[in-house]
Symmetry: C2
Subunit: 189 residues, 2 copies
DNA sequence: CTAGGTGATTTCAGCTTGTGCAATCACCGT
DNA sequence: ACGGTGATTGCACAAGCTGAAATCACCTAG
């Protein structure tokens, strides 16, 4: 018999997701989360830097996959197409199968300003990572950043639609739709 | 003789700006800020909802001015041009004269992840406000949001350059430069 | 086989953030 | 003079977060 049940971080995450959904983010205390996971408050902070961080475990994986996919892309494509193509691949491989979980998670985040702020911070960091990856492929820093931000804008627009109730199109399809909308909107001079 | 010295909020803001610059955001306590402003911790929270909020007093003014300028703009212009024109006006009237203060403020914010997150939140709210204003002028919601976000991207890019040491161009000039960069980057298919 | 190291967890004590509530006190209009 | 107003304050307290030391199943070298 192991000293402790495994996957403490994962148990904390699901407990937090449940409680945030049941009673809201502000109304649930760290002690409650830890209790439901069979752990203590202090242990929560051994796994997560703060209360919000518990909902962002997947971030690093997504970022690694996305950057890798950008670096592996066709070198002749324009920068924006490279980024968007990589996002499509990651969407298919890592996101599409978790649509339900993503909806739950997003509804919790959207209901809490603090969590929304944290998500914006993560997105900003991801934008920088994308810009760096594009930069490594010969794009100048300014264009790389603008391209990365444009791609993220399309991605976020697509994600919003993808997690809307009743929406059936895949994230990839919605992503391509968003990119078209962005091109017409910005392109019209 | 008045019961209290005037401009408590402003005094708290400058005290906070000084202390954050001297010892960093996390290392300065609310009590310190209040002390330097000749007030108490409790009074700080009467003026600002939390520790970060003290650096975002100007936000509402900027938003009002920007939205008003968008609503007052030429109805025939494409949406993105409307937004960018309004930003140029606000830049000239409210920002250009405070370049030094803006630099100081931005360097403090950039040095602290928590403040950066809060700024991203404020920017997201501003983006929504711009989108609403464009929507009221006949733009459909999706295009309005994408346009607003694109304009904010140009604005943020310009602001970064504007607060860089040694940069002498005006914010308006940098804004137009950013818009051009965005159009070439996104336009290239 | 066993002694000692490892690492996740816990306990505890403490600081800081943020809030609710009641009290203070100059100022203002009547 | 007198009561209302509003900015400020003191007090008490919940909750977030941290550092240091203690615990204890598990692993591994000898």
């Amino acid at each position: 018999m192991p000293r402790w049940k495994p996957d403490a971080a994962e148990r904390l995450e699901t407990a937090a997701l449940e409680l945030f959904g049941e009673q809201g983010f502000e109304r649930t205390t760290i002690a409650e989360i830890a209790d439901r996971a069979g752990l203590t408050q202090r242990t929560f902070f051994n796994h997560f830097a703060d209360k919000r961080e518990v909902l962002f475990r997947m971030g690093p994986d997504l970022e690694r996959a996305l950057v890798a996919e950008i670096s592996a892309g066709d070198a002749d494509l324009p920068a924006l197409d490279t980024a968007v193509r990589a996002m499509g691949v990651v969407a298919d491989e890592m996101l599409e199968i978790r649509r339900d979980a993503a909806k739950r998670r997003y509804s919790v985040i959207a209901a809490n300003p603090e969590l929304l702020e944290r998500e914006l911070g993560k997105n900003a960091a991801l934008t920088e990572a994308i810009a760096d990856a594009l930069n490594s492929r010969g794009c100048d820093p300014e264009s790389a950043f603008i391209t990365a931000a444009a791609a993220m804008l399309a991605q976020q627009t697509a994600l919003r639609a993808w997690t809307r109730p009743g929406e059936t199109r895949t994230l990839r399809e919605l992503l391509q739709h968003s990119v078209r909308a962005l091109r017409t909107t910005v392109g019209a001079s």
